[in-house]
């Protein structure tokens, strides 16, 4: 029985560019296999964070088990492991792909292949997955399925002769997709009797059960009561429950080789169930773990401070909770002269950073201030010591520095060819080095640029989108470190350095950035009773200066009987606005000021 069951299991992911309809297709597959009635379905079931649904992107992966009665008369178990679509979450993608034998590649019938799709296809190919291309949105008037077919064949080299042409939104040809999954994706291999090897591809935490680990059993069987061991940490636990996703969790007796499901084992610390680790049986351990455990390292850092000092502990609690199912998030306490007590947080990339910020504000109802994002710089000191700096404030005095290195990424930017000019202009301005340019077909180009990461995190993606009317897509990975002429740019408000505004920039960019920050602060800092100079400085050298003029007049000319209530309300509002500001020396700075300096002008 076990073998015939295993033969009817298919484990697969869906890979797609943002907006190409991955979540909608997932919904249709669930609907088609009758897991939920239409009424029970919320739109886009798998994206269950509000934020995800709002932005239409997947951040945390989700898993569900579908039961499909195929045309051959057999029932198949299809385990769908959803993947995040964005470059920042590459590691999660590669983990979920490792749990599968195949992947659906969803391509938009109008837009074709994008940089991130390609990046994920390569990840899937690395894992030897069977890739099934699917062309979606064929209902669009601008759909051009024949051209896209050719593009997929030319660019990726996949056979598209019997490619499903579907509309997930309209529910067209969904069955073709299910049949392809059954026919093309191989059944999982693995011996249910062998020593246990199960890959953890995600985990989350709740205070009752502790950590729930999402696993793919590769070899052996796991069941409640079994003593298990985490191979990366050697920690041992007793399994309290195993189960499957429907998509809600349903306990089962056991999970066998080839199965996808979850396990709980009173694991109190999420670090003990790391994504990528292998679970084995304590008494009969596997001789070696599955390949693939990699410690994820943050690439982007910023300070996160409570807007009101008394919220420090609440921010800490919230970060801890977020970290539980987001192992890529790191944080440690730090202090800023301007902002008080807060945290230095590490993120995979800018989107990850924005998402954490938004989750802190929405899910935890916290009011936070973030400082400018930074990357990790390597500093070679004259005494020979090499230090890593991700907070500009910690930069040693220039006299102690022999040289500095900054991280460089290899990026690929894919776009219609008419945008090559503007993209090159942008990359040039961001200190990029063109490595290669290739034509995918007659209309589309991939530009390979080496770019300093600190230029990429400074609103590069938005600038790229605005220069290409949204057509360009970006993918990048760390290449290594290079020596660079970097300086620390300080911002002085009313003659005092505000550490939260300090950034490390390339010397050639310092003037421009300094001017732009000073201008933005001038716009956002309200006028005070005195004039406020805003200066940008490198060391003691002022490179830009603006002045917030003194407030000359703030008086209501008329106030009679009928005006009292209304005018009082105005004053109250004005006063509340003042309360929400940060006191830096004797200057009150609104929170928007901290945000405004992060955004690049759309030039």
């Amino acid at each position: 029985m076990s073998n015939s069951r295993q033969n009817r299991v298919r484990n697969f992911s869906i890979i797609a560019h943002i907006d190409h309809g991955k979540s909608t297709l997932a919904d249709r597959l669930i609907e088609e296999t009758g897991l939920l009635t239409e009424r029970e379905m919320k739109e886009q079931i798998l994206d269950n964070m509000d934020l995800e649904r709002e932005r239409g992107i997947t951040i945390k992966l989700q898993t569900t088990r579908l039961v499909y009665k195929a045309k051959d008369g057999n029932e198949y178990i299809l385990n769908l492991i959803d993947t995040p679509g964005h470059v920042d979450f590459n590691y999660e993608v590669s983990r979920s792909l490792a749990a599968c034998e195949g992947a659906l590649l969803v391509v938009d019938a109008a837009q074709g292949i994008e940089a991130q799709t390609l990046a994920n296809v390569y990840l899937a190919l690395d894992q030897d997955l069977e890739i099934i291309p699917v062309i979606n949105k064929i209902d669009l008037p601008s759909a051009r399925p024949e051209e896209i077919k050719k593009e997929i064949e030319d660019v990726i080299g996949l056979d598209c002769s019997d490619i499903p042409l579907i509309s997930a939104k309209e529910g067209i040809n969904i069955e073709d997709v299910l049949e392809s999954i059954v026919q093309k994706i191989p059944a999982p291999k693995g011996d249910s009797g062998a020593p246990l090897k199960a890959l953890i591809f995600d985990s989350f935490y709740d205070s009752y059960k502790g950590v729930t680990a999402y696993i793919r059993v590769v070899e052996g069987t796991i069941k409640p009561g079994m003593k298990i061991k985490m191979m990366a940490t050697d920690k041992e636990f007793e399994v309290s429950e195993v189960g499957i996703f429907t998509p809600s969790q349903v306990p089962v007796d056991e999970l066998r080789a080839g199965d996808v499901g979850y396990v709980t084992a009173s694991i109190k610390n999420v670090r003990d169930a790391r994504v990528g680790d292998t679970i084995t049986e304590a008494d009969r351990p596997a001789n070696k773990p599955l390949p693939g455990y990699k410690k994820v390292t943050p690439m982007v850092y910023c300070g996160v401070y409570p807007a009101e000092g008394e919220d420090f502990n609440n921010v800490k609690d919230a970060l801890e909770k977020l970290q539980v199912n987001d192992a890529a998030l790191t944080f440690e306490p730090e202090t800023s002269a301007a902002l008080g007590f807060g945290f230095r947080c590490g993120f995979l990339g800018l989107l990850h950073m924005e998402i954490i910020q938004e989750r802190l504000e929405r899910e935890f109802d916290l009011n936070i201030i973030t400082t400018a994002p930074s990357v990790i710089y390597k500093i070679k000191k004259k005494d020979g010591e090499i230090i890593n700096i991700q907070n500009p404030t910690n930069l040693p005095p220039l006299t102690e520095i022999e040289y500095m290195e900054e991280p460089i990424v290899e990026s690929s930017i894919m776009a219609p060819k008419e945008y090559v000019g503007p993209i090159m202009e942008l990359c040039q301005a961001r200190r990029g080095t063109l490595k290669n340019m290739e034509y995918l077909d007659q209309t589309r180009v991939v530009l390979h640029y080496d770019l300093p990461l600190n230029e990429v995190i400074y609103d590069f993606f938005d600038a790229l989108k605005s220069k290409t009317k949204g057509f360009a897509s970006l993918d990048y990975e760390l290449k290594g470190y290079e020596r660079s002429d970097l300086v620390k740019l300080d911002i002085l408000i009313n003659k005092e350095v505000v550490d939260a505004f300090s950034i490390i920039v390339h010397r050639e960019k310092a003037y421009e950035r300094g001017r732009s920050i000073a201008e933005k602060l001038k716009e956002t800092i309200p006028r005070h009773l005195f004039a406020i100079p805003i200066q940008a400085a490198i060391g003691s050298k002022i490179v830009a200066r603006e002045t917030v003029k003194a407030l000359r007049k703030d008086v209501l000319a008329k106030c009679y009987g009928g005006d009292v209530s209304r005018k009082k309300k105005l004053l109250q509002k004005q006063k509340e606005g003042k309360k929400r500001m940060r006191q830096l020396g004797n200057v009150e700075v609104p929170q928007e000021a901290f945000l405004s300096v992060l955004k690049f002008d759309n030039d």
Binding site: L551, K553, L571, K575, K578
Partner: protein, 377 residues
């Protein structure tokens, strides 16, 4: 006997000025008769509720009270005085638009006891008057003023505005210098403020309204103040100037947070520890009063803390400021026991000044009065 001021709102205008956000309705003159009928009903309600009040001042405002026939004003005032006791030296003001005044109207006003005329002039520059949507010219003003004086009125106020679109400093000076030669007793000298919901607000947001710079606006204010003070006007409130003994007693009631009763559409009252606001539409005003219900849309209880706070923010509008002894007598506590921190801070900022009797705004405080008021909210 409790002394009160009474405000009566006349929400009718020939046309609306472009800067005005007051509650008034052009082209609703057909409702005047009905409105007056319900005004009397409202007076009835309060006369019954507050039989022990004595009226010290009356202010008939608008809108444009002079735009409706004088017999309606007569009807209202006579009724009010039938229902309430009045002080012997009562002050009764009426707001007038130069275009709408006639000798007959003035005569009626005189006969029913009105003794203070407030003229909305704004400027003597006809170009500017057109630009801000006034229906009258400077000529109309001179004609009206002549009539007013001929009919024996002595206590006359003129409203003058500055900070008007493309107004120059000379223009403000010219208007003031001419007006002060006319034996006027009181001048309200206002800076234009762009209010939401007005035609100017829309234009301003579309950058189609060129207002004087902030510096010029302040120069206009201080130049105006200088001219007025040199010519025997005492600066007694942020925007008000008066010859000796001619301060507006009615408005002082507001600034000293004393009781007043507002009658008519969207009128406000402050009586017996409550402040309330009337409904803003004729329809609901009529409907409420038809059922003998007070036409109130919003009511706020004034606890002593609120009263103290209002006493500060309104009292500091007066150039003489807050009288400390008066404060102590009214609230049974020394002002420093409540506001010491705020007073010290504001003195350090140079926004207020304190002498033996009073606490008042400095020159800088006059410019930045809101910063001062905020401390007492």
């Amino acid at each position: 006997m409790k002394e009160i001021g009474v405000y009566i709102h006349i929400p009718f205008c020939k046309s609306k000025c472009y800067y005005c956000d007051f509650n008034s309705f052009p082209e609703k003159f057909n409702l005047v008769e009905k409105y007056v009928y319900y005004i009397k009903k409202e007076i009835d309600i309060y006369a019954k509720e507050y039989p022990n009040c004595i009226i010290k001042t009356v202010f008939i405002g608008g809108g444009t009270p002079s735009a409706i026939e004088a017999r309606y004003i007569e009807e209202i005032i006579n009724y009010l005085f039938k229902k309430f006791k009045t002080e012997e030296k009562i002050e009764i003001s009426i707001e007038c638009n130069p275009k709408t005044l006639t000798r007959e109207k003035l005569r009626t006003y005189r006969n029913i006891g009105i003794n203070r005329i407030s003229i909305g002039l704004q400027s003597l520059n006809d170009n500017l008057l057109r630009k801000i949507g006034r229906i009258h010219t400077s000529g109309d003003f001179f004609n009206s003023l002549k009539l007013i004086k001929e009919e024996g009125f002595e206590n006359i106020n003129v409203d003058i505005m500055f900070n008007l679109p493309s107004q120059t400093l000379e223009d403000v000076i010219n208007t003031l210098k001419r007006v002060i030669t006319l034996d006027i007793k009181h001048i309200s000298f206002y800076s234009l403020k762009i209010e939401k919901g007005t035609p100017f607000y829309k234009l301003y947001n579309q950058s189609k309204l060129k207002l004087p710079s902030e510096d010029l606006e302040r120069r206009m204010y201080y130049k105006g103040k200088e001219i007025l003070e040199k010519n025997g006007f005492k600066h007694y409130e942020i925007s008000n100037f008066a010859k000796e003994d001619f301060k507006c007693r009615h408005n002082i009631i507001y600034w000293k947070v004393k009781p007043y009763l507002g009658i008519g559409l969207s009128a406000h009252s402050n009586l017996s520890k409550k402040r309330w606001r009337n409904v803003a539409s004729f329809e609901s005003y009529f409907k409420y009063l038809e059922k003998d219900k007070k036409p109130i849309i919003e009511l706020e209880k004034i606890d002593s803390q609120t009263e103290i706070s209002e006493f500060m923010i309104l009292g500091l509008r007066l150039v003489d400021g807050i009288n400390k002894a008066e404060f102590r007598e009214r609230f049974k506590i020394d002002i420093h026991n409540i506001y010491n921190k705020q007073l010290i801070k504001l003195k350090d900022l140079g926004l207020i000044r304190e002498d033996k009797e009073n606490i008042k705004l400095t020159k800088k405080g006059l410019d930045l009065a809101n910063i001062v008021f905020m401390e007492f909210i």
